[in-house]
């Protein structure tokens, strides 16, 4: 099917139509001014951790949200982090950028799909656990990718209500996976949709690509390692029953994702044991 050029073209056109409709809907979350300023500072090589911390601290609500998230147990820091500049030093600039964004996105999450917030937080921690287990660079940022992997579901719910209803009905009545119902209704899925918003917000490809591809893992694509991590973390989070991704079923774990990371079932078991130990009380 994917080899047929006409169908491919048709699919691309359907995707583009959905993208335009979402972007014109007026309901797409905008980046608040303070966040735009923080993004600018993060991207400037002249900015110091102190300056960045000071800028974030000007917004008390944002600061409180960031500290709450950093100390929520999902980053696994052994000592409590009480100041924004400490958070900036511990996490690094790129992670702070993602975190600032996450904190504004998470708020709207549970309003859209009950259980999505828990699923996202558990997937965040699991992504970081996999990254730590494999000694991959930047486990915190990998965690943020896990946190945002289902962002597209929120956007779909907020911008295309009718289609969101059609997707939800298919999920409920036919017992379909959410992303397969999205593909049927829209010709694209929440990975694509989340990617469009993040692209608009000028988030780097190393964060966007794994979100776009988490239901379609291909080892030859850019950032395949991270995509594999988030693909695996999403499935393990569903297997352990933390929160809800909006459907009853679990997508199949691609063996190639394990191969790409050099992981075996023993590694999967160790990670699931840690998830069970760390997250059960917090999230079940």
């Amino acid at each position: 099917m994917s080899g047929n050029p006409i169908e491919k073209e048709d699919l691309a056109a359907r995707k583009q139509t959905v993208r335009v409709r979402i972007e014109r809907s007026g309901n797409l979350p905008a980046l608040p001014g303070v966040i735009a300023k923080i993004f600018e500072m993060v991207d400037s090589p002249q900015t110091t951790a102190k300056q960045l911390g000071a800028e974030i601290s000007k917004d008390q609500v944002l600061s409180a949200k960031i500290l709450k998230l950093v100390n929520s147990g999902f980053y696994g820091f052994s000592q409590p982090i009480s100041t924004i500049s400490h958070a900036v030093t511990m996490l690094g600039f790129d992670s702070v950028k993602s975190l600032v964004m996450s904190s504004s996105v998470l708020e709207i999450m549970d309003q859209s799909l009950p259980g999505l917030w828990k699923h996202s937080l558990a997937c965040a921690r699991t992504s970081a656990l996999v990254a730590e287990h494999l000694n991959l660079p930047d486990p915190e940022e990998v965690g943020v990718v896990g946190l945002l992997h289902d962002l597209g579901k929120v956007i779909l719910c907020q911008t295309l209500e009718v289609e969101f209803g059609q997707v939800s009905r298919r999920v409920e009545e036919k017992g379909m996976l959410f992303y397969l119902a999205e593909l049927e209704v829209l010709g694209c899925h929440h990975g694509d949709i989340g990617g469009w918003l993040l692209e608009k917000w000028a988030i780097p490809a190393k964060v966007i690509d794994p979100i776009v591809d988490h239901h379609d893992f291909r080892p030859q694509r850019d950032h395949a390692e991270r995509t594999a991590v988030v693909h695996i973390a999403d499935i393990l989070t569903r297997a352990e029953g933390f929160g809800s991704g909006g459907d009853q079923k679990i997508p199949r774990l691609e063996a190639q994702a394990l191969d790409t990371l050099g992981m075996g079932l023993e590694d999967v078991e160790k990670i699931m044991d840690r998830m069970n130990d760390e997250l059960s009380e917090l999230l079940r």
Partner: protein, 105 residues
């Protein structure tokens, strides 16, 4: 103690009698806790049956009315033939059962 087939064995099951191969070599001692890694090797070792702790009635009791376990079965129902997914389900089931035991005690 009860006899089960290798296919029925789950992560977290406890071996009730030493598991021995045809040469008499002990593959798993009595009391060993089955892990996903061990489960994936049972077939390669030529093990078809084994004895595990617990009686059949307890197994039925564990399964009956357990909505969480039923939910888990539904979640994985499309992947009964996928070895990786079956193992992941067994691990999750083991966690669920252990949590159940903790909350009952």
């Amino acid at each position: 103690m009860r006899d089960i087939s290798a296919g029925e064995a789950k992560v977290g099951d406890i071996v009730a009698e030493p598991l021995v191969n045809s040469q008499g070599r002990v593959l798993l001692p009595k009391g060993a806790n089955l892990s996903a890694a061990v489960l994936s090797r049972l077939q390669g070792w030529g093990v078809h049956e084994l004895k595990i702790e617990g009686d059949a009635a307890a197994a039925i009791d564990e399964n009956s009315g357990s909505t969480l376990e039923e939910e888990l079965e539904i979640r994985f129902s499309d992947w009964a033939d996928d070895q990786i997914m079956v193992q992941i389900k067994h691990i999750a089931l083991g966690h669920q059962r252990r949590r159940g035991q903790v909350s009952r005690s």
